[in-house]
Structure formats: C-alpha cells, structure tokens
Amino acid sequence: MTGVGLVSPLGIGKAVNLASIRAGRPCIEPIRRFDPSAFSCRIAGQVPDSAFDGADPNLDRVSWLAVVAANEAAAEASLETLTSRERIGVVIGTGLGGADTLDTSYERLYGQGNSRLHPLSIPKIMYNAPTSAVSIRHRARGPSFAIVSACSSGTHAIGQAAMWIRAGAADCVIAGGTDAPITPGIVRAWEALRVLNTESGDPATACRPFSADRNGIVLSEGAAVFVLERLDLAMARGARILGRISGFGMSSDAAHITDPQSDGAARAMRAALDDAALSPADVVHVNAHGTGTKLNDPVETRAIRAVFGGHADRLAVSSTKSMHGHAMGASGAIEAALSLLAMNERFVPPTANLRAADPECDLDYVADGARTLEVVAFLSNSFGFGGMNAVLAITHA
C-alpha cells in the first residue's frame, strides 16, 4: 500500500479521521439530508457537506466520495508519475450504488408524477460508476470493474486488487469501497428489517457494538481508497510503503441471507491468516465487523475465539463503527484504512460507547480509549448480508 485516502463521518482526509479515532470521538448526528421526524431511525453518520464542494453534477454522491478518497490516495502515492497507465487497475466496491439518484428519480416519477427523469440517471446509478469516475480521473487504463457484496464490498475489492497484482493482471490498483445510502427510501427499507438504531437520546452514544444494551446499526456514508502496488516496483521507484496486504480470505455462509454464521466468519479469518502465512499468535489487533446488532456481535466473538483459541484473550478487538457508523460497502475499506493509519502511529483504535459488554461478547474490545500498542499484523473483518465474508490480513511495512 503506497497511498490511502478516506472521507467518512469522522471527516475529510486522513489527518482528521486519525485524530477522531485517537480521541475515540463518535460522529453520529441527526439526519440532516432530509427531514427524519416521521422515521423511527433519525440518526446517521454523514460526511461533512464541504466534501461536496466542487462536486461533479454528473456523478452521484457515491461516486464523488470515491473520487475524493482516490484523489487523496493518488496524491500520497504520487500516482501521476507512473508512466504505464495501462498497468493501473481500478476496483471499487459498493453495496448500493447511486442510491441517492435512484431515490430522487423515483420520488420524481412516482411522488411528483413527473415522467421526465434526468438524462444522466443511468450513468449515475450504475454500480460501476465510482470505479469509472476514478479510472477516468486518474487515467487508469488497466482492468476495472465494481464489486458488490453488501457490507463486504470494499474488503472484497481490496482483496481482489491484491489478487490482480499477484496474478500479473496489473502492477498497481486503485481499490476501495464507497457508499452513500442516507436517502429516505434506503433508510425506510433498512427500518423494515428492524435492525436500525431507533434511539432518541444522544446520537454520539447510539452505536454500541458488543454492549449488553446495543441497539442496532447506525447507517453512514463515506469512502476509503488505497493505492496498491507490486512491492518490488514500489520499492524500485522509492515509494513509501504504508503497509502490506499480506493475506486475503473469503468464504460464504451458504446458510441464511441475513443471519451471520460464526463458521463462515471463522473460515474467512483462517483463510486470510493462511494466505499471509501468519499464525494466530502473530496477530495483535482485529478491526471487527462489529455492527452493534443483536446477532452479529456474539457470532463474530465466537468466530474469533474459534480461530485464535487461547490467543483470543490477548487480541485488541475494535469496532470503529462505534464512531463512524456502518457505511455499508465502504465500511470494510474505511476500517482497514483506520487501523492501518493507527498501526503506523503505534496505537489501536478504540470501541467507543462500550461500558457493559454483553456476556456473550467476552473479548478485549479496547473499550477504554485508543491504546498505545505496537501492531505488526492485524485483521480487518467484513461479513456482508447474503453470507459473504471477506477478511484482510495487513502487516507492517
């Protein structure tokens, strides 16, 4: 990894995101993009409005967020100096694509009875629009497509990028995840699943992964994008190596469309460790999927215990979703980015808002704030609806 960029509810860019997780500061707020007063869920993680200053009107929010993150990553990696643009690929994951444009178009069509939709609706809605927007702006002429695997999309995309490099399909890949699901239609649809946070108290304390009194998912938006390069080429050009994607593990639950299974999660973690040639004892930190739903948190805890055995009690397990919410297909990329940034600053991010843990959630969740710790290897877990699991094993440069 030679570049990373992110835009999340914690802020725009690496520096402010890093400061937020170091302070353990949740950035969940009342929904401001539409009037949520008639909704049972009225809070979300929202990126600062200034992220859209100068936004291209021909792109949906989901694509613009990917562009913002990719620009930061590309600048850090000095991507413009690479001369073989046909060896640069792009793969961006998204769970819901151009949801804002879709929602706005349907409101116009069915709500207002206006049959004339914006002419760019299709290119704004399509799931590969973020990948395309990044490819065009960075003249990346190698392989490109989008990945859709619900909440695992970003993690799958980064893993796919590493596989392209290993396979020789590209020397450099711009990879990550993006989602912008804070629209009336999408929030209503999530409400119907009855897994959204419906609290009316302080939004900052609403998202409480692993807590006995957790109250569900807080939706959010954002993007994180990495520049991955073949190690020998990156070193030859003198690029600063931020960390290595040492392993990538995937599995399917093949059991239930929404209920997560600890066996599937465990198999993905084991596959990532095997791929990286790491033993469980080498791993210091896990950035958990940690959604704060009744089902996920104990299932993930059991999976971590199954994989790590006695070492599980020595792991620092964090859910940064407690601070930035669940950015769907972007979440895995955001979480990998946050733990990478923290690793390079010698700490692990905390799990905010955890005071009394669920008895079934009995690991060390770094509940007492950011912890100074030398991390040489960490896992970043994503377990998406549909039973699609993806885990990255990331090691220090």
């Binding site: 021909n58 004339r116 914006h118 002419p119 760019l120 290119p123």
Partner: protein, 80 residues
C-alpha cells in the same frame, strides 16, 4: 416570450453547464466549439424542457447543435 428572452434564458443554461467566454454567444457557432460533449447536450436538452415546460423529441435532440438552432426549436414549441 419573445425571441430575445428565449435566447437570453438558453444562454444562461449554457453558462450554467460550462464556464464560457464573457462575450455574447454567437448563435451559429457549433456547441462543440465551446467544449460541450454528448452528455452536456443531454443535460442542456433536459434544462430546456424544464425551463420552458416543453417536450423535445428525439429527432430534435439531434438538432441541438447551436444557440440559434435551440432558439428556433424552443420558439416552435412555445408557438404550437
């Protein structure tokens, strides 16, 4: 609405789409000269339909090539 007013409003639409020279837009200059591409043309047609509450046919879309031609198309719709 007279021809001058139609032209003024269309010029506003064009300037919303792209930063153009401050000089008045020559009615016969092809839009491509200003850097408008096929997607820009679709955005312009959409804005014309919204602004003037008209419906531009697919055949007419192909004809949206200059400020002068757009004024004629809009004027035709408003008179009919």
């Amino acid at each position: 609405m007279d021809r001058a007013e139609i032209s003024r409003r269309i010029e506003e639409i064009l300037r919303d789409q792209k930063t153009l020279p401050a000089d008045p837009i020559d009615p016969d200059t092809p839009l491509e000269t200003f850097g408008f591409d096929s997607l820009d043309a679709l955005n312009i047609v959409f804005a014309l339909e919204e602004t003037f509450k008209i419906s531009i046919s697919d055949d007419e879309v192909r004809d949206v090539r200059s400020l002068g031609r757009m004024v004629e198309i809009v004027e035709g719709h408003l008179q009919s």
